[in-house]
Amino acid sequence: MQSPRTTQQYAGFEPYIGPLEQVPDGDGGFALRFTIAPQHLNGADMLHGGMMMAFAAIVLAGTARAAADTDVEALAVNCDFTGPGKLGDVVTGRASVTRRTRTIVFLSCEIKTGGVQAGDESAPRLLMTATGVYKVARP
């Protein structure tokens, strides 16, 4: 499998809103992490919904790209907001492939915070669940 593109390889949206860090995942899968910084907040000093959705879209697309072993295009992304994030929270996103056909990849994703850093004993808390449908790029 081709390794997912990291966020440092081009200038554009992903490095601009980051840094987003690729982290090892137990199942040999793909996970991304970022720490909520002041520019990621909304007017109520919580994590902005747009940043949370953008992060989910990046995790979904990275996982789809790895599964398809080529580039993918988003057809549909669905995001459910299950909890708020605050400044300094370390946020981790993981996605899994629900089904892959020759032309389409279906995925689901969870965005969590808490209990992910060494020494952090807080229970993981779910911020978002998301699903995505991606089209495999024609060769």
Partner: protein, 159 residues
């Protein structure tokens, strides 16, 4: 979660945050006063100058090098951020300007945009109960639909 906000709300609110790029003169649009740091970070965004009810509004942003993916196409995450900002305005107006948060947002991508394109959007209110607002928006480049969004918002403090 995103606090719904009114791009033109009054002087008692926090001061708008400047975007890193200057606003341009656009026919029919004026810069939004952005009070969410993440929106200002990606702005400027624009709202129509024409009179409207706050529910169905035209909004816009110019795609630049901060908004694109490795192929130079508009990043879906950028479109989702703009969508969250503008449908939040519709939820806010639909509830008499009460605080609302995003419950869910769905995107259907029918196209994309390149740096330099002006993305325009039209917001809509679909349905409203005491506690929940159903709203959405369509996004266009040069009259071609590139994305449709539906969204649910919760009115804070209502069961």
């Amino acid at each position: 979660m995103t606090e719904a906000r009114d791009p033109l709300k009054g002087a008692h609110d926090p001061l708008p945050i400047a975007s890193p790029r200057p606003a341009e003169d656009l026919d029919g649009f004026q810069p939004m006063a952005l009070r969410d740091p993440f929106e200002a970070f990606l702005g400027p965004f624009y709202t129509e100058t024409a009179e409207n009810d706050g529910l169905e509004r035209r909004e816009a942003f110019r795609v630049d090098d901060r908004h694109v993916d490795a192929h130079g196409n508009l990043h879906p995450g950028m479109l989702m951020t703009f969508a969250d900002a503008i449908v939040g305005g519709t939820a806010w107006h639909a509830t008499g300007r009460r605080p609302c948060v995003t419950l869910s947002l769905q995107t259907r991508h029918t196209g994309t945009a390149k740096a330099g394109d002006l993305v325009t959007a039209t917001t809509r209110l679909t349905h409203k109960t005491r506690a929940i607002v159903f709203c959405g928006a369509d996004f266009f480049v040069d009259g071609t639909l590139i994305c449709q969004v539906t969204s649910l918002w919760k009115v804070l403090g209502e069961a």
